[in-house]
Subunit: 336 residues, 2 copies
């Protein structure tokens, strides 16, 4: 499983993507650049980037781009129209071989479109998918697709499972990772049309197929990988995020109620903070768009500098481990 | 909006349904029977029921049924084969007018099948749906469908919204409740095929349509009603359950770690317990299968006696408010 290459890895960062861009992107790049094996190209408005980069490390470069794609712009229209946008310019660096990976915390749909249309699908892949590592009681599970494909065919879910298996083998060093199918019952007879068919395909594949996992099983971490269509996966991922936020705010609310509770809360404060961080997928760095050339990593719009640094590291590891090349091979029906 | 009738309401309870049946069902019936306006028929193995009913109130009856449908039996096969099961006998009491409502904490699929096949759909309803009130930051939202229809057409989601509106108007006294469509983005251009079409239908309906709500919005309570297909709704509901369980267990774990934390936790203990209860859909009594004659209420398999009592009360209120009759009328295309 050794590393493909030891030469420096170049990450093109869409510096203008994200709710508070460019600051967290630039600060995240500075943290990540402590690794001398990385080269980071910050793509965006140079005048906006420079103030956050007073002491520019030698392995951080700036590539000026004059336009920005907004969070609510139509993805495909935006990347076609805004050719000078930070996202499009960054994607082209990957396309042209000047960078190995793209990272964006901006408009997710536009990042997917840039991956699919500008960087391009791998030859053997039908439908690239966004995969997210989320924290479970046992560690992590990889959930995919979480939003690249709103409608799926059963064959797509099999492909997602195979791509996810390569990712978990390479990145988390789990040989023969187990695969679960997100479904509404444990029995193979349960599910919608898509899940029923996908169950059959997964069952007869060479993957280590566990069977169906239900919504309540997601936080339990029953399997290394969980596959579903991008609609269901997106709802599930955002719901996990929303519930955690509300529960921790309720806990805060309790604390304000009485002096006694305040004493209790002060003692527990640091532990709750750690738990909140542990449960936040955002802490673990971005989500890869699996199935495209090179590496495309999508980060949360509200990513902090440390989340961006983690995502840059994820991008670099994805390149180092040759995830794209190994996915392309694993999906080739006949080895040439 | 007044009540349809003041005569006693009769609830047929599947006494043998649920993880710990019949005990919580019988104890729940005893609590609910404190309301003299209720008559409760406990349907099941009389020899198993009686030991929990030492002091039998006059408004609790026992109807013997010799068979039990297991939690993992095939729903339709089970209700066709086990004609002497507690569920089938209870459903027939409703069918024959001897009871006004059915409550079961047993095999959910079998309860749905009993509602659809034994009790029967309302004449104007195409696809009955399970609706669940879940707690939000602002109070409650009604989510449907959470499992009766794994595959849906756009028209079904419009029907779910209309049925949900009648339920919220009658049961929670919310006039003109707002409706949200569970989707993967705020914009009307987002979604899978189903959600895109359903958005158009909801937009041009006479309902108070809010637009799309995302997974992270569910706990925020942006709308009174949220519609989705039964696959997505089931995943979302069970995921909410699973996450709450894990977070509260993690909190327990933190507490054990240090003496200081123990002191803090002891002070906060009662508040956390209240929060956990508040966040548990199970506390609020069962979920109605909307769109069938009479009232069919489905309770969680792990329902406690108080959850069963709440569900019996929900069943009685559903009957008192004439929810089924009003749904039937609201879905008639032309008023006769």
């Amino acid at each position: 499983m050794g590393l493909v290459s030891d030469k420096p890895i170049t990450i093109a960062v869409d510096a203008m993507g994200g709710d508070d861009a460019p600051e967290p992107n630039v600060r995240g790049a500075i943290i990540a650049a402590e690794d001398p094996g990385l080269r980071i190209i910050l793509v965006g408005d140079a005048a906006a980037i420079k103030p956050h980069l007073s002491d520019q490390p030698g392995n951080i470069l700036i590539k000026h781009a004059s336009e920005i794609i907004g969070m609510n712009e139509h993805p495909v229209k935006a990347i076609k129209k805004k050719k000078e946008s930070s996202l499009v310019v960054a994607a082209k660096l990957v396309k042209d071989g000047e960078a190995d990976a793209l990272l964006s915390a901006g408009n997710t749909g536009a990042s997917i479109a840039a991956g699919l249309l500008l960087i391009g699908r791998l030859g053997t892949v039908d439908r690239p998918a966004i995969a997210t590592l989320f924290p479970t009681r046992k560690g992590f599970s990889l959930l995919l697709d979480v939003g690249a494909n709103a409608d799926c065919r059963p064959e797509n879910l099999l492909e997602f499972a195979k791509m996810g298996a390569v990712y978990m083998e390479q990145m988390l060093e789990i040989p023969g990772p187990s695969v679960g199918l997100l479904n509404i019952g444990e029995e193979s007879s349960k599910g919608n049309f898509l899940a029923l068919r996908a169950h059959g395909l997964l069952q007869s594949s060479s993957l280590k197929f566990y069977g169906n996992v239900e919504g309540r099983d997601l936080p339990e971490g029953l399997t290394d990988i969980i596959v579903c269509d991008g609609f269901t996966g997106n709802i599930a991922l955002k719901l996990m995020e929303g519930i955690s936020i509300v529960i921790f705010e309720e806990i805060k609310g309790i604390v304000g109620k009485s002096w006694k509770a305040k004493v209790g809360a002060a003692l527990l404060f640091s532990q709750f903070k750690a738990l909140k961080k542990k449960l936040s997928p955002e802490s673990y760095g971005g989500s890869p768009l699996l199935g495209v050339s090179g590496a495309v990593i999508i980060a949360h719009g509200s990513s902090s500098a440390s989340a961006i640094a983690n995502a840059i590291n994820t991008a670099a590891q994805t390149v180092k481990h040759g995830v794209a090349e190994k996915i392309e091979k694993s999906l080739t029906p006949k080895k040439g």
